[in-house]
Symmetry: C2
Subunit: 126 residues, 2 copies
DNA sequence: TTCACATATGCGTTATTATGCATATATTTT
DNA sequence: AAAATATATGCATAATAACGCATATGTGAA
């Protein structure tokens, strides 16, 4: 019972829904890419990812200095059903997030995350 | 977006999951019946029902002094999917709750909730 | 080996949610 | 009308969760 609740709780926060929406469409993303997409602080994104990971909804695989997160493919029926429900959520902010993520992913080199801040929306572009 | 989160949040609490499990199997139940089934305080059950109602997951219909709660049958796809996922939860406590509810429902007269405390588990039966 | 960057986390603060108790409101029975 | 019962809710407190900041750890680059 406690694990069911834990899983649902992990889904009951906006930032985490935003992260899942990204991972659902993007296959994988590393923390800095998610930070750029959500325009949230690094430590918050990192912490929310941890909550999702503890709930077994996402997994991270470390490659060099980056950790690529993606949806956990093999999980219990219950969690799959929840993720399918969450998939249904549509919202303006999710579209904007995804657009920013696509911009950021487009800058990958050899399918690898690139170094440094690349936010196209920050002060260096104004 | 906020409404999606609100709905998920309403599902992220144990008492509310227990209530939904009851309503899923029992078609309807009034507050005092749920109180007996869960062995929880009346005010807590009442408040948790309100959260579920605000999330649009349950509806209550008043008949005389009782309010019969049931799952909201006509709701958005997203909420249906969530409820279907929650339906999958199986746990010892849910079975016990259901057993107590059945005992209590069996005491209905003309399909109507009866008056007074009938907890078969309380001190008057020991 | 020093530096820059990627990610995680401890600590204190704030915000949100749940709970206990008392009590209010509504309805039915006597 | 008075008493009993069903349900809801205001208020204070306790328990959780989120956040901001600083900083630690790990890794690759210079």
């Amino acid at each position: 019972m406690e694990d069911y609740i834990k899983t649902i709780k992990s889904l009951s926060e906006k930032t985490r829904i935003r992260i899942l929406a990204l991972l659902h469409q993007a296959r994988d993303a590393c923390v800095s890419e998610i930070v750029d997409a959500l325009q949230e602080s690094q430590y918050n994104v990192s912490r929310h990812l941890k909550v999702l990971q503890n709930a077994g909804l996402v997994v991270g695989s470390k490659k060099g200095r980056w950790i690529y997160y993606q949806l956990n493919e093999n999980q219990a029926h219950f969690k799959k059903m929840l993720l399918n429900a969450v998939k249904e959520i549509s919202s303006e902010i999710l579209k904007e997030d995804m657009e920013r993520l696509q911009n950021r992913l487009a800058k990958r080199v050899n399918s690898q995350c690139i170094r440094g801040k690349t936010d196209y929306y920050n002060e260096s572009y104004q």
